[in-house]
C-alpha cells in the first residue's frame, strides 16, 4: 500500500487553488499589485509534492505566439509562456539595439535660414530614412565613407526675393545621391572628394533610398534665404543616440483578467457598466427579468481601477496573467515591425553567445 501523496488517487493533484493563483497571476488591488515576483525555483512547492521545474520540454509545450494585428507600420501580437525578463529584454532591444540608418554628418555650404546650423543638423538627424540597415556596414572612425556604409543626401532650397510668403522646406527636398558626395563641386578646394564610392549605390539597394515620410517640416525660409547642404547617413543603434531607434515605440502589457467574487445584479450592474471607460462589462438579462453584470471584453482593461473604487471593491478582482504578454510594436524605420522583432531575437541570441564564459 503506497502512502505517497502523488500516488493516492482520491487526493487532489497539483497546488491548491489559492496557491495556483499566487503562482500564475498578479493580483492588482486598489493601492498596489501583489504577488508580482515570479517563482522560478524548482523546489518552491516541494513540501506540497508539486514540481515547479521549467524544463525546455515544458517550455516548448506551453509556448504560444499569436499575431493579432499586422499592418505596414504596426504589429500587435501575444506571447504566452515566457517570463517577464525576456519580454522586457525584447522591449529594450527593440528600442535601443536594433540598428537603423540616420543622418550623422551634415556639411553646410550655405545657411541663411532662421534655423541655426546645429538645430538644422539635429532636425535632419531625426528624419527616418527608408534604407534597410541590413544591407549596410557600420562606419568607424578610421574607415573611408563608401557606398557600403554611407548614404549621401543633398538639399538645395532657396526662397526667391519676390516671394510673397515664407517657403516651408519639407523632407522631400532631401535628394539622394547614389553616386556619392558632390561637395567637391560645390566647394572648390584641395580635397578631391568627401566620399569614395566605387559603384552606384543603386546596385546594392535596388530601390531608391528616400526618406520615409515626405511631409516632415525641416525649416521655413523667408524671402532671399537659402539652405545648401550635404548630409551623410550612417548605421547606428539607439543606445548611441535616439535618432537611431527603429521604433516609434514598443511596449508590452500582461493579459488582464476580471473576476467577480460576488454576483452583481440590478441597479449596481447598470452602474458598473457605465463606470468602466473601456466597456469591459456588459449586461446580461436573466430569465426572471433581473440584470446581471458579466465580463465581456477583459482584454481591453487598462487597469484604471474605476470598477473597484468605492463600494464595489470587495466584489471585483482585477488580475494579470503573469506569463501572457501582449506586445505592440510601432515601426518608424524602413523595416516592417515583424522584421524588427526577428532582428531583436537575433540580437538577443548574439548577446547570449557573447556572454558565454570562455573560461571553461
Amino acid at each position: 500500500m503506497s502512502w505517497k501523496s502523488s500516488e493516492l488517487d482520491d487526493l487532489p493533484k497539483g497546488l491548491p487553488e489559492h496557491l495556483e493563483i499566487q503562482r500564475t497571476r498578479v493580483i492588482c488591488k486598489n493601492d498596489a499589485p501583489i504577488h508580482t515576483e515570479g517563482i522560478q525555483y524548482s523546489g518552491a512547492y516541494a513540501s506540497s509534492g508539486v514540481d515547479n521545474t521549467i524544463s525546455f520540454e515544458k517550455f516548448s509545450k506551453d509556448f504560444k505566439i499569436e499575431v493579432i494585428r499586422l499592418t505596414e507600420d504596426e504589429m500587435e501580437f501575444d506571447m504566452v509562456g515566457i517570463d517577464a525578463s525576456i519580454a522586457n529584454a525584447f522591449r529594450r532591444i527593440l528600442i535601443a539595439e536594433v540598428p537603423t540608418m540616420a543622418i550623422e554628418k551634415v556639411f553646410v555650404v550655405d545657411n541663411t535660414s532662421p534655423i541655426a546650423d546645429e538645430s538644422l543638423a539635429h532636425r535632419l538627424g531625426l528624419i527616418p530614412i527608408n534604407a534597410d540597415p541590413r544591407l549596410f556596414e557600420y562606419l568607424s572612425e578610421n574607415d573611408v565613407p563608401n557606398e557600403r556604409n554611407t548614404i549621401v543626401y543633398r538639399m538645395q532650397v532657396s526662397c526667391s526675393k519676390n516671394s510673397p510668403q515664407r517657403l516651408t522646406v519639407k523632407s522631400d527636398k532631401l535628394e539622394w545621391l547614389p553616386e556619392g558626395s558632390k561637395l567637391h563641386e560645390m566647394v572648390p578646394g584641395q580635397q578631391k572628394t568627401f566620399t569614395s564610392f566605387t559603384n552606384n549605390q543603386m546596385e546594392i539597394t535596388k530601390t531608391p533610398l528616400g526618406v520615409k515620410h515626405e511631409d516632415i517640416t525641416i525649416a521655413r525660409l523667408g524671402p532671399g534665404q537659402a539652405i545648401e547642404l550635404e548630409a551623410h547617413a550612417v548605421k547606428g543603434i539607439g543606445k548611441t543616440h535616439a535618432k537611431w531607434s527603429p521604433v516609434a515605440t514598443a511596449w508590452y502589457r500582461m493579459l488582464p483578467e476580471v473576476i467577480f467574487r460576488k454576483e452583481i445584479k440590478g441597479e449596481e450592474a447598470v452602474e458598473l457598466v457605465k463606470k468602466c471607460p473601456v466597456k469591459v462589462f456588459d449586461i446580461e438579462d436573466l430569465a426572471n427579468g433581473e440584470k446581471k453584470a458579466v465580463v465581456a471584453r477583459p482584454r481591453s482593461c487598462t487597469l484604471c481601477r474605476e470598477c473597484i473604487r468605492g463600494n464595489t471593491e470587495e466584489e471585483i478582482e482585477l488580475r494579470r496573467v503573469r506569463d501572457h504578454f501582449i506586445f505592440t510594436i510601432e515601426s518608424a524605420s524602413a523595416l516592417p515591425p515583424e522584421a524588427l522583432f526577428t532582428e531583436a531575437v537575433k540580437i538577443l541570441e548574439e548577446k547570449c553567445d557573447r556572454v558565454l564564459s570562455e573560461l571553461s
Partner: protein, 115 residues
C-alpha cells in the same frame, strides 16, 4: 562633462575580457562573474534562468554604478555542479529557448499572412 562616450556602453575596449570571474574566498562554491559592457537586458535574463537551476543556491545581478557599464552576477551552487558549468548551462538553455521562440514566431507569421 565627465560623462563617458555613448559607444562605451557596448564596445569592449582592447585588453579587457568580456567575462571574468572571481571566486569568493570565504564561501565554498561561490563566485562573482563580471560581464563588461552589458546591462539589465542580459543581466535579468541570466538571473532568471539561474533561478530555475536546482543546483543553484543563490543567484543575483547588479549594476554597481549606472555610469560604469558592467554587471556583476553572483552565483552560489551546491557541490553538485561547478560555477562556470551552472553559468554556461543557463546561457545555453536560454539559447535553445530563443531559437524555439524565433521559429515559433516565423511559423505564426506565415500562418497569419496566409489567412
Amino acid at each position: 562633462m565627465n560623462a563617458p562616450d555613448r559607444y562605451e556602453r557596448f564596445v569592449v575596449p582592447e585588453g579587457t575580457k568580456k567575462v571574468s570571474y572571481e571566486r569568493d574566498t570565504k564561501i565554498a562554491n561561490a563566485a562573482s562573474f563580471t560581464v563588461e559592457r552589458e546591462d539589465h537586458t542580459i543581466g535579468n535574463i541570466v538571473r532568471m534562468q539561474l533561478h530555475r537551476d536546482p543546483n543553484v543556491l543563490f543567484a543575483g545581478y547588479k549594476l554597481p554604478h549606472p555610469l560604469q557599464y558592467k554587471i556583476l552576477v553572483r552565483i552560489h551552487t551546491t557541490g553538485q555542479s561547478t560555477l562556470t558549468q551552472a553559468y554556461n548551462l543557463a546561457i545555453n538553455d536560454l539559447d535553445n529557448e530563443l531559437q524555439h521562440l524565433k521559429k515559433g514566431f516565423e511559423d505564426e507569421l506565415m500562418r497569419f499572412q496566409e489567412r
